[in-house]
Symmetry: C2
Subunit: 200 residues, 2 copies
Amino acid sequence: MGAPTVTFFFEIASTYSYLSVMTADAEAEARGVSLIWRPFLLGPIFRAIHGVMDSPFNAQPEKGRYMWRDVERRATRLGLPFRRPSTFPRNPLLAARVSCGALREPSGKEVVRAIYRANFAEGRDIADEATLRAIVAEAGADPDRLLEAARSEAIKAELRANTEEARVLGIFGAPSFVVGEELYWGSDRLHDALDHALGV
Amino acid sequence: MGAPTVTFFFEIASTYSYLSVMTADAEAEARGVSLIWRPFLLGPIFRAIHGVMDSPFNAQPEKGRYMWRDVERRATRLGLPFRRPSTFPRNPLLAARVSCGALREPSGKEVVRAIYRANFAEGRDIADEATLRAIVAEAGADPDRLLEAARSEAIKAELRANTEEARVLGIFGAPSFVVGEELYWGSDRLHDALDHALGV
């Protein structure tokens, strides 16, 4: 038997996913749990639930105001740089497909972290292909290969399958953590998911 | 100077408020912080935000399913009994007014806890006046006096003022914790509010 696992569903454009992408592995590893990283898209799920693809943080200004302040506070506590993107949410499609391809390689998590850092700390437009290529190269991966993979049917199908799996699991926001039948929503709920994976 | 304070906004019909009403005082006292209990109504706030008074947990079945499982899990971890009410949300108006009056007396928090226990652990209808009277009596308070107070203009005005203050503070859910300009939403965010109150 290997280490206990928790499946970590994250969305490229999601603010709280940024917090988890940057910190969740360290927290899980410290407890001997392995995280399985699964990029997915919230747009199709929001459309199914709310009838629109846009973020509920835009549709509900009260919740949006709270979220921006809360993410900034939490980033500060975690020692993470944070700058509110000029456009929210960024179109995540190409970056999510690049992430799917990247995660097939050892440097994958570094590529994903670089994409989040660009979006949420560096004010860069990750929906722009030239920008995305530069981010991938800075993370030490090959932009030509990852962009070509991102356009392959295999990667497109993988992202669609991740999204469909998230929907079937009852996921309605990101990040979400899954252990067996149990779903945990939110960056601050990883602790509970780890407890459950460890039978604590 | 007295102890640092955190204002604790709770809603009678709110599931996560149950968790906080039962546990928040102990957590705050352990850190030398005093909680100021403020009952308010979410209905008017939901109506202003969503256009309907009903709980978003009913309007969004995915979120509702998650919430019932999550509250049950968290209650178990906190050692609290939990039984899903047959009607959700219960009409909180009379119980919220009774709570406002009760909190003017030393036994107030026990009355409020008894109301939550009745709703979320004992399957009793707290919107029913006879039931509410029995709950108040069981908590050691005087039902005649508290029900009379609940119908007074002073108590009605107090609950309206609490609700209006919550709205102005940007509160959109319960429980919420307020420290100066900072708002923390959710039973699991008391820790952050206490940190902020203590300047940690």
